[in-house]
């Protein structure tokens, strides 16, 4: 197919690998902003979810968050943020901020919900046994509940990461940078090589991130939980 040739040509063109609009620059942009958003979202959602799971209070908050997140189209979220972020800064508020805020906002709930669910699913007997052995509340959370909840926790962070990368890609339609830019430009310039180059790059990034997280999960989760993960 012509497409494959065009894409290969575009990708192998060294000019596309240099400069502020080059592939490495865009990749870095995409990764950096995704990483920052994930971190910020986790900083708030993770402790909150863990605490709600451990103490059992405000679980209604989590249920509402879960449902809210599932229903929100990210396209709409980015768009709706624009009128507000442009007030803050007419330039960045039109390109960078709306997508960035959307990334953080959309990454929060999966982390929160999974943190809560993971901790809540830990057997009450285990927590009582830990308490009876003389562990303090913090020790129970850190030494027992979190390690056991880790598989579920990790899945939450992983799906948030995938979400963030996808939102960043989408943001290109709203002036955001990153790898999505190539898709938008390719479409505008009727350059299939660029468009498909962008698609390939985005897909590669997303799949690599997925694989990385899966490997990380394997490493971090205790071998003793292997059986439970299947259940």
């Amino acid at each position: 197919m012509d497409l494959i040739g065009a894409t290969a040509a575009w990708l192998s063109n060294s000019a596309h690998w240099q400069g502020s609009n080059g592939i490495p620059a865009r990749l870095l942009e995409h990764l950096a902003l995704s990483g920052v958003s994930l971190l910020l979202a986790a900083l708030v959602a993770l402790p909150l979810g863990l605490w709600i799971g451990h103490s059992g209070r405000f679980s209604w908050l989590v249920v509402t968050a879960a449902n809210a997140w599932r229903a929100l189209p990210s396209f709409a979220v980015i768009g709706l943020l624009v009128p507000f972020t442009t007030v803050v800064d007419p330039n960045l508020g039109f390109t960078l901020y709306p997508t960035l805020v959307a990334m953080i906002v959309l990454a929060g709930p999966p982390i929160l919900v999974n943190a809560y669910q993971g901790i809540a699913d830990v057997d009450d007997d285990l927590v009582e046994a830990a308490r009876a052995m003389g562990m303090k509340e913090r020790q129970i959370l850190l030494g027992v509940e979190i390690p056991i909840a880790l598989p579920v926790l990790a899945t939450g962070i992983r799906s948030a990461a995938v979400q963030v990368i996808a939102t960043a890609t989408l943001g290109a339609e709203f002036g955001f940078g990153g790898l999505g830019r190539f898709i938008v430009l390719g479409d505008a310039n009727q350059d299939n090589g660029e468009l498909f180059g962008g698609v390939v790059l985005v897909a590669a990034l997303a799949l690599t991130t997925l694989a990385l997280f899966l490997v990380l999960e394997r490493r971090l989760v205790s071998a003793g939980l292997a059986r439970r993960a299947a259940g």
């Binding site: 249920v63 709409a76 979220v77 768009g79 995938v162 897909a203 799949l207």
Partner: protein
């Protein structure tokens, strides 16, 4: 945004007709994707249950497909299959399959084996057993999948706005409003599409409650 009031009501009322059309288009696109996707998914799920060895393969493909951002998927398909409703539907259907298949399989897997055993013991034929025991009990998870896929599809339809002006349902207003710096339009597109998604979500929750009075609501969000 540009010194204008937040909402231009006059524009809104002047365009009620087209807006309604867009809502219709939005639901239409979503409905096709969900129903076609469901049919295909059911077949795939049935196959996966019969041939267990196939299932991990299916899961991997599904996860990979879901991971690839929809934006990229839409853009890629336009280049390949050109611009048409068909093009718009392919990614939509694909994403519903990705969400449905695991749910359907899980639904049938969730039927306790002792219930199946009892059914066999009482003399049900395998057909009767499937229709009267397995299907009803698999319903909760299947409906949960329907809920998830429908809400997700409504969201994805907005993304298809990138394909052009005649696509995207309410997403058109979001994108157009953005390019024209026109807040009202963005609000219409954004709030309405969120509204549609929420209504669909609530509708399916109600359906879940109606169909399965015996199922306790334990899982967060289903």
């Amino acid at each position: 945004m540009n010194g204008e009031p937040l909402v231009r009501w006059d524009w809104l009322f002047a365009h009620l007709g087209p807006i309604a059309d867009r809502v219709g288009q939005h639901l239409y696109l979503a409905a096709i994707a969900v129903s076609v996707g469901f049919a295909i998914s059911f077949a795939l799920a049935a196959l996966s249950i019969r041939r267990r060895k196939l299932y991990p393969f299916v899961t991997v493909l599904a996860t990979a497909a879901y991971t690839i951002p929809s934006f990229a998927m839409f853009a890629a398909l336009v280049a390949i299959t050109g611009l048409s409703v068909f093009t718009a539907e392919i990614p939509l259907i694909l994403y519903t399959i990705v969400l449905f298949v695991p749910n359907i399989v899980a639904g049938f897997d969730s039927v306790p084996w002792d219930v199946l055993d009892a059914a066999d013991g009482m003399g049900y034929t395998s057909g009767q057993r499937w229709w009267r025991v397995e299907l009803p009990l698999a319903v909760p998870l299947v409906v949960a999948g329907l809920r998830l896929a429908s809400v997700s599809t409504i969201g994805l339809v907005t993304v298809s706005a990138i394909l052009g002006d005649s696509f995207g349902g309410l997403g058109y207003y979001i994108l157009d409003g953005y390019h024209r710096h026109f807040t009202t339009e963005i609000l219409v597109g954004g709030l309405l599409s969120i509204g549609l998604a929420v209504i669909a979500d609530l509708g399916f929750v109600l359906l879940q409650r109606l169909l399965t009075p015996w199922a306790a609501r334990r899982a967060v969000g289903g």
